[in-house]
Subunit: 309 residues, 3 copies
């Protein structure tokens, strides 16, 4: 049912479609060799109009581990594709060479526009501060794998909740599941915006500026970075940032089976001493990101077939 579809924003996928992707991702994780030729003879175009090595690597590794191949560019300079050419013409031409395309673009809406003219599936790999749906898929698969289900979790989201695209998309996505509770942990300057709160529907939520207060009830702690540029003055930044740095001391009252997530890259918002804690799963999260992209590519190419309805 996913064959030939585009993925521009997380809401493009129904809960059932998400479940089909996650089920396939599970199967790949169980037996990656079984899928090592699934995309043989297929080409992925990675069109990065803005550099993002991490995301590009994740998609390229995904395709290559499926036996597929890659053409692409990794930054605008090296691309003459778009020289005066409309994005519609570009994607139609790419469709002559490749079977599926991933697009990262500094302009909001560029991947959406491309998908309207495309003859092949287009995956949005980030358009400005707008959408980054495969990050959300990564987060959902990680939660589903470590917490057994996406439903029935208390999730704390900590850091820059005002501007953080990743957090907004994840909150929207999680609010489609049952029995969730959200705890928004941020300084007043960086609180979660009202329009995201509205997405929660009937789900209960709390707001707090104290990571330590929130800790004991959390099943999931989702850390994000607070960027210095978000503050009016440096004193505020320096005064506040310590409150939102996760270290072993702050974890003392956390649940034993809580998981600590982070979209990476991490700068200093999680102390490296936490890396050894079994609850710290953010590097594995990156690995789940590759697996979920493998499942997504297989589904959009229609190669998952009868094996994984």
């Amino acid at each position: 049912m996913l064959k030939g579809k585009h993925l521009i924003e997380p809401g493009d996928l129904t809960i059932e479609e998400l479940e089909a992707i996650f089920t396939l991702a599970d199967a790949i994780i169980q037996d990656p060799k079984k899928y090592s030729d699934t995309c043989k003879g297929h080409l992925l175009a990675t069109l990065f109009y803005e550099p993002s090595t991490r995301t590009r690597f994740s998609f390229e590794a995904a395709m290559l581990r499926l036996g597929g191949e890659i053409i692409g560019f990794s930054e605008p300079n090296s691309s003459s594709v778009s020289k005066g050419e409309s994005i519609g013409d570009t994607i139609r031409t790419i469709g002559c060479y490749a079977d599926i395309a991933v697009m990262r673009h500094p302009k909001e809406g560029a991947p959406k526009l491309a998908s309207k003219h495309a003859t092949i599936p287009v995956i949005n790999a980030g358009d400005g501060g707008h959408q980054h749906p495969t990050q959300t898929l990564t987060d959902l698969l990680t939660i589903r794998s470590y917490r057994k289900s996406i439903s029935n979790n208390v999730i704390g989201l900590c850091g820059d909740l005002k501007f953080g695209r990743t957090v907004h998309s994840l909150v929207k996505a999680l609010s489609r599941y049952e029995h969730m509770k959200f705890v928004f942990i941020a300084p007043p300057e960086l609180e979660i915006p009202p329009y995201i709160i509205e997405e929660l529907g009937d789900h209960p939520y709390d707001r707090t500026s104290s990571l330590e207060d929130a800790m004991p009830e959390l099943d999931i702690l989702y850390m994000t970075r607070i960027q210095k540029e978000r503050f009016f003055n440096e004193e505020d930044y320096l005064r506040l940032k310590g409150y939102y740095i996760l270290d072993q001391k702050k974890l003392e009252h956390a649940k034993e089976d809580m998981i600590i997530m982070h979209p990476l890259p991490r700068v200093d918002e999680i102390h490296t001493e936490v890396d050894q804690d079994p609850r710290a799963i953010y590097f594995n999260q990156a690995k789940y990101g590759m697996y979920v992209r493998m499942a997504l590519i297989v589904k959009l190419l229609g190669l998952g077939g009868d094996l994984h309805a």
Copy 2:
């Protein structure tokens, strides 16, 4: 007979060699899967001293769809190969790693020079405004596929006929075939140069500045872009450019089975409304570009063997 040869300019290939390449391209188009491992174990080096994403993608997709692999660079900055090194040394070193090389270079003659020192076949993918032989091969295969034969066609070439490398090469190549008629459609400032006319031999030709007048007799309309920079002043450009923009109205008196070609990228010289017209085949042309490069690579590597003499 093509094994180990270089392709620096279209004239390097005899009509028979061209025919062998096109016959193989046809076979690949008919059954691409049959050729999906033909180049297994072989490496193509894409040496782009000047960025050209479209051409690079076409070559890379061609090699990957044959089961081969790619090493390469896509712009001069990322290349330290040539740091003070002669192009002869560079290509000899590349020959240690790869089995065939594609070179795009801003300097006329660079691929020719490289081929003289090379131990592997070198394909010119554009050297300055000089030659771009695989574009010509693309055009010939497209004509041959849509018009059944390259011979016996009336072709109209429209746009910048003075500076357009693509047009010059195509005219030279077509004049080697029988029963051609050429119609050169351009403003006086951008007329086809006399030395190209000389290449026509006995072939009949017309010159006109009116696309609409030329239209009714054409079997093939080859559109190219008129670059603003070619005009002495902006008024001339603005006054003239409308005459050479193809839209549905101008197509009213065209033949039913005429084909509309364009080397791409298109800017505004073909209105997007034309894209839906069945005569508009310029995006398929890009696909034929990939297929003809597949056939060329197989032939130069000597892998087409007895199957396609």
Copy 3:
């Protein structure tokens, strides 16, 4: 025994480990097809924080000819991996996508630091002026192949012996073998430093400023470039450089079976007339560089197995 190890500097490998790599390289040279799927399903990450097309091509060709695949970047700009992120976090994330990594970095020690946090083998492909161990492996394999053994050779090293990283590493590596004699051929300004002389142990050595005087006794002549920037003034450079340019005349008194090596790129320190001389093996040296990297990758991935103890 090499499985999972890192290669940061040549001394990381024992003589036995080197021998195992060279033996496998020999087997690959004898029958490359046998190894064309050895790394199938494995990914190499090429992390070039500093461009080096030649070295990157050599590693990529090596991995691709083993049936493996590549993800990577070729210059710092196109990499957002390290944006504020520690090198430890970067390599841990890369380890989620790839099975082995090659790193080139302008800062000394960066690959070493990465290896400490890595979950996959890390190969140093050059860190500043510090180490470049696979160049040394290349040189050793070349000597072993052309001279039957690494031991029992008189080697002349000519050019910039003061700053040349390649020469320093090679001298250290060769001094671990038996019955070597070293002849250091350089102008006084660019003599071999005392701390390298100390590495020689009991091996005999000579110093001379005359390439012609040294020539008759050499089994191996290792040429390197003299960079203009190394001299205080241009007159000295111009006066001296001719003494260290190898041409046919200087080769008149060389042994019949002497081999001429050069790490490439060559600028003008070897006259092109020498290229035809059967003793000139510097382009083959580049090919051996690819083969030794093939063997190294197989060994570090633990895929050489029982076949090549």
